[in-house]
Amino acid sequence: MTQISRRDWMGLLARAPTHRLAALMPAEPDAAFLRPPEIGTVMVRGRIGATGSAFNLGEMTVTRCTLQIASGQVGHAHVQGRDRDHARRAAVVDALMQTESASDVHAGILTPLAQEEAQRRSLRAAKAAATRVEFFTLVRGEDK
């Protein structure tokens, strides 16, 4: 099994399609909310001219959640969109990844999510690559 950092699994869970995460988690352990799922926004920033100072581009919706599973681990999630179940499930996975069942959770949930994401990305990249063009400049009559 390859290693995955907490930062990476949290990002993967944040980007995961809600229905896929739900399908991969038919059962959940009991958990107590330290912060029930809450919908809010994050101000997305860009950089002037791509490399300069920051500016405020606009907000995006994000749902966050913090909970504690029975074995004591605290799970945390900030996920894109407004789906409270998504945030709760992501927080549960985050907590479980800190337990002894981490390798099962990794294999059963994170690996399929990562593979599906990689497939979606490479299919889109392959479609874009098929539209790569070579432009030629032609000598026009009046330029002779």
Partner: protein, 362 residues
């Protein structure tokens, strides 16, 4: 002065019920789902997200459905909803250099390193109505694929920058101003201008940009690079003490290469305009970069030619379509007391004028 009126509750309720019925249209026609809007009217969704200043395709689709396709009304609904949400924080500035591009073109370098990728574009279509789309249920054949290099594509202006041919774009780590939190003060720094432009009305920004091309504040813009694709959004989470990705969004970025400046001490250099917008919204991003460049006349030591696109107050105070439509449309609401006083005034003036004329004639 606006004086409130009372009454009309039943008429208003009935008008809203009538609106709901008209929104639905002919019940014999299947109802449009928000998922259909999100997937099949994606460029409308993108525009509502950009001008609503909130990236959430499902909400934008709902706004479009509720507003019967009136995109400015949909933007208004999104802005109103946004004010009900807490803000958890601000992201790290997104790194567009790491964008996964579905489109990337340059009008200045045909052999751009990384290549030119057309992506899903209307460019080079014939703009003929496609009557095949009138027929039901045709799923188009899958788009062609080709081996892709998934490494990030370098910014094309980076090559000019390396050779010192373009004004460098360096910054500081200051917290940028936010016009949704503090009233806009003029003169506005470039960061604030870009925030106002990216959420500004596409039609207004387009017309201003077009005016610069026609000579009102000309800046000789070339599209150095236009790229569309997805970027990761990262935010520091204080509880964790590190930054995590909270999602992934689609952006359009336009970098223009414009006429040079130079001085006794600095050799001539190209200058830049910048556009960055939510979603695939390239007309808006290109227009934004032209208007951004026109507004930079002061810092680049250019003349104020009096062109509208150079007038920061004119541009920034009129770019927001929610503000504009709010003030414009309020004049159709009851102004009976206002108008009554105007009516009395004009009657008095007329009586005086007629009396004066009669007196002169006598």
């Amino acid at each position: 002065m606006y004086v409130a009126v009372k009454g009309g509750e039943r008429a208003i309720d009935n008008a809203h019920a009538f609106l709901a019925e008209e929104r639905r249209g002919d019940p014999a026609i299947p109802e449009l789902g928000t998922a259909q809007i999100r997937e099949q009217l994606r460029l409308s969704v993108n525009r509502v997200m950009a001008e609503g200043s909130l990236y959430d395709p499902d909400l934008a689709a709902l706004g479009i459905k509720q507003s019967r396709g009136d995109l400015i009304e949909a933007v208004f609904l999104i802005r109103a909803y946004r004010t009900t949400l807490p803000r958890f924080g601000a992201s790290r500035p997104v790194d567009t250099g790491k964008m996964t591009c579905t489109r990337r073109i340059s009008a200045t370098f045909k052999d751009a390193p990384g290549g030119q990728i057309l992506g899903p574009t209307f460019d080079y279509t014939h703009r003929l109505l496609d009557f095949k789309l009138l027929a039901d249920g045709q799923t188009p054949p899958a788009a062609a694929t080709a081996p892709a290099n998934e490494s990030p594509l370098p910014h094309i202006t980076g090559f000019l920058d390396r050779d010192g041919l373009i004004q460098p774009e360096t910054g500081n780590a200051e917290t940028p101003p936010d016009l949704t939190r503090e009233p806009m003060e003029l003169p506005a720094p470039r960061a604030l201008r870009l925030q106002a432009l990216t959420r500004g009305d596409e039609g207004f920004i387009l017309s201003l940009a077009y005016s610069t091309q026609r000579g009102y504040g000309r800046t000789h813009a070339f599209v150095g690079e236009l790229r569309i694709g997805t970027v990761a959004v990262e935010m520091e989470i204080p509880e964790l003490g590190f930054a995590v990705e909270v999602g992934e969004i689609e952006l359009t970025e336009c970098e223009t290469v414009n006429q040079f400046t130079g001085s006794k001490t600095e050799p001539p250099q190209f200058t830049r305009g910048y556009g960055l917008t939510f979603g695939q919204t390239e007309r808006k991003a290109i227009a934004m970069s032209l208007v951004d460049r026109a507004l930079r006349w002061r810092e680049l030591g250019e003349d104020d030619t009096g062109a509208p696109a150079q007038d920061e107050e004119f541009v920034l105070m009129h770019a927001d379509n929610v503000q504009a439509t709010g003030f414009l449309e309020h004049i159709k609401l009851p102004h009976y007391v206002d108008f009554q006083s105007e009516l009395e005034l004009i009657r008095k003036l007329r009586t005086e004028a007629i009396a004066a004329r009669t007196e002169a004639a006598e």
